[in-house]
């Protein structure tokens, strides 16, 4: 029988050791690799195609949630996390399994067998992880950065470098200092998850970083454009203009 291949993505060495130790009793499982951060995790998943990953949430550079966001193929996931009431709530709302540190051998085996039984089967709901990430970020407040894939790598853009967002059919194009990136999300999502102190939906199809606005120019009757630091011009609707006026108090 083909062995089940797992990848451990966890930034603390003792925590990785523990998982490996607990996997010793499972001869049908093979540890395909170990990673101490999310970047390594993304790379190894792409290279080694593990069936299952153990994923810590709090890690340097790229969190467990952000890692899942940029994956094409999603292996089965068992989250490992310390006390985090928000994350726990997020897990409980969804069916993805999680191990609350520290955990018992019984709990570990239980989570493992559940995950193993799902391997190879049709994924019930592909949007589940999405939902999970959304619930978690919702509980933790606004986004502080946006993560996406760029070529073979992963790009993390802090909000202050993002100048504006534009709706493109079912996607959102994010314009930042070095280029643009398409995210499979809706404007509504970003309206809810970006801090309103920084980003404002000035038009049905545009959200703008208000710190990037240099001036507002009339465009036609009742219509304006916002001129950004980069020189780009963003349409501003009448309602958007009113909101900007209030926000920037001019």
């Amino acid at each position: 029988m083909k062995k089940i291949r797992v990848l451990i993505i966890e930034d603390e060495a003792p925590a990785r050791e523990l998982i490996k130790y607990m996997l010793r009793d499972h001869p049908d499982i093979e540890v395909a690799g170990e990673c101490a951060d999310g970047f390594c995790g993304a790379r190894e998943i792409k290279e080694k195609h593990p069936d299952l990953i153990f994923l810590d949430i709090q890690m340097p550079k790229l969190t467990g949630f952000e890692l899942l966001e940029v994956l094409d193929e999603k292996p089965e996931v068992i989250f490992t996390t310390a006390f985090d009431q928000y994350a726990i709530r997020a897990f409980e709302l969804n069916a993805v399994d999680y191990l609350l540190k520290p955990y018992s051998k019984e709990r570990f085996d239980d989570a493992l067998s559940k995950a193993v039984s799902r391997i190879g089967k049709e994924k019930g709901e592909p949007a589940m992880i999405e939902k999970l990430v959304a619930t978690a970020t919702e509980a933790e407040g606004y986004l502080t950065r946006i993560v996406f894939r760029k070529g073979a790598g992963i790009k993390i853009i802090p909000l202050n470098l993002i100048s504006y967002l534009a709706a493109e059919d079912d996607y959102v194009m994010i314009y930042y200092n070095e280029g643009k990136a398409l995210k499979p999300k809706t404007m509504k999502y970003y309206e809810d998850h970006l801090p309103p102190s920084l980003f404002m939906r000035v038009h049905r199809s545009y959200m703008v970083n208000i710190e990037h606005i240099t001036r507002l120019e009339p465009y036609s009757k009742d219509n304006y454009v916002a001129v950004l630091k980069s020189g780009e011009k963003i349409p501003v609707s009448r309602a958007g203009y009113k909101m900007l006026r209030e926000k920037l108090s001019f």
């Binding site: 930034d11 130790y21 970047f39 540190k101 933790e140 502080t144 950065r145 853009i157 802090p158």
Partner: protein, 355 residues
């Protein structure tokens, strides 16, 4: 601080009345005892005391500065005497000049002036000391009231925020992750697990006992912080490097317990948690004049996209505790660079007395 006389209308009224009484008294004495004419007596009385009244109000500013400074008692007295002398000399010349300009019999006035100038100086000195005494009483009363309200505030915070403080002091993430590391070590390296349990116990004991307001020595505080960092080092291994440079004369300095803890928690959170490379946490403590300057620096991965979320709460906590314990005598400065984060705390050096 506001001016003790000018801040309330009733006190200003009493102040004016006192000078009216003094002016009247002086005029009467000049007229009946010395025997000069009414014009001169009235002019001298009014101008003398009007000038002194104004000078007395102005004297508050240097006097407050001198009395609330940190100097020795000797230098305070010297400064007060200097201020008083200056004020009295100013007052004598101004009085003489103004009264002489007003009265008709200028020669008579010159003669009168020379006869009584010593009485005048004596009276000036006496009044000056009365004013100093009043200001001194006012200052101590205000200081005492401030101290009491600070104390009350402190107690209120301790009472209401005891749990909140504890939660802020021991991050649950830290606790549960450490327990997980121990759980791992019990299997792979039981001796090390035992060591870590002892360290965590000592650290917990310290942080629980430091909830009361009893100050601790920097030595005790550093011992606890070392425990904390060593526990974190088990989790993070070579990623965490600890450096220390503490002047031995700083070790007995007193400070509120667990004051520095949030700085290290921040350093770990924003340094180690966000970096895949080595992070150095460096502590220095130096005695500068009458203060102890403690500086905690951690390197940051310049490539990490810092999530600012949650940053600042720990520091705010430290700042408000400093304020509660030391008022304006303590200082906290933050220095953020591309590749490092530094917090500097300055507190008055107070040593443990053997009681």
């Amino acid at each position: 601080m506001k001016h003790p006389v000018l801040e309330s209308r009733s006190r200003l009224l009493i102040w004016c009345l006192a000078w009216v009484v003094l002016a009247t008294g002086q005029a009467l004495i000049i007229h009946f005892v010395y025997g000069s004419n009414t014009d001169m007596a009235v002019a001298d009385g009014i101008i003398t005391m009007l000038l002194y009244g104004i000078l007395g109000l102005a004297a508050w500013f240097p006097v407050r500065y001198i009395l609330s400074s940190n100097g020795q008692i000797f230098s305070k007295v010297t400064n007060i005497v200097l201020t008083g002398s200056l004020a009295i000399v100013l007052w004598l010349f101004a009085t003489r000049f103004l009264v002489r300009a007003v009265v008709r019999e200028k020669e008579d006035y010159d003669l009168f002036w020379h006869t009584v100038v010593f009485f005048r100086i004596a009276a000036g000195v006496l009044i000056f000391f009365v004013i100093i005494l009043l200001y001194y009483l006012f200052l101590s009363a205000t200081e005492m009231a401030e101290k009491a309200s600070r104390q009350a505030q402190l107690e209120a915070q301790v009472r209401e925020g005891e749990l909140k403080m504890l939660r802020a002091q021991i991050n649950p993430h830290f606790l549960f992750n450490s327990l997980n590391s121990m759980s791992s070590l019990t299997l792979t390296d039981p001796m090390k697990a035992r060591e870590m349990i002892l360290k965590l116990s000592d650290f917990m004991r310290y942080s629980l006992s430091s909830r009361n307001e009893q100050p601790v020595t920097l030595q005790n505080e550093m011992e606890s912080l070392r425990l904390y960092l060593e526990i974190e080092k088990v989790r993070f291994g070579d990623r965490l490097v600890i450096e220390e440079e503490i002047q031995p004369e700083c070790l007995p300095a007193l400070l509120p317990g667990m004051l520095l803890q949030p700085l290290y928690e921040n350093a770990v959170k924003h340094g180690v948690y966000e970096s895949t490379d080595r992070v150095v946490i460096r502590t220095t403590a130096n005695k500068e004049d009458e203060n102890v300057v403690i500086s905690v620096t951690n390197t940051i991965d310049p490539e990490s996209v810092v999530t600012r979320k949650g940053a600042g709460i720990g520091l705010k906590n430290v700042r408000s505790r400093l304020e509660l314990f030391y008022g304006e005598k303590a200082d906290l400065a933050i220095n953020r660079k591309e590749d490092s984060f530094n917090v500097m705390i300055k507190i008055p050096f107070e040593e443990k007395t053997n009681q």
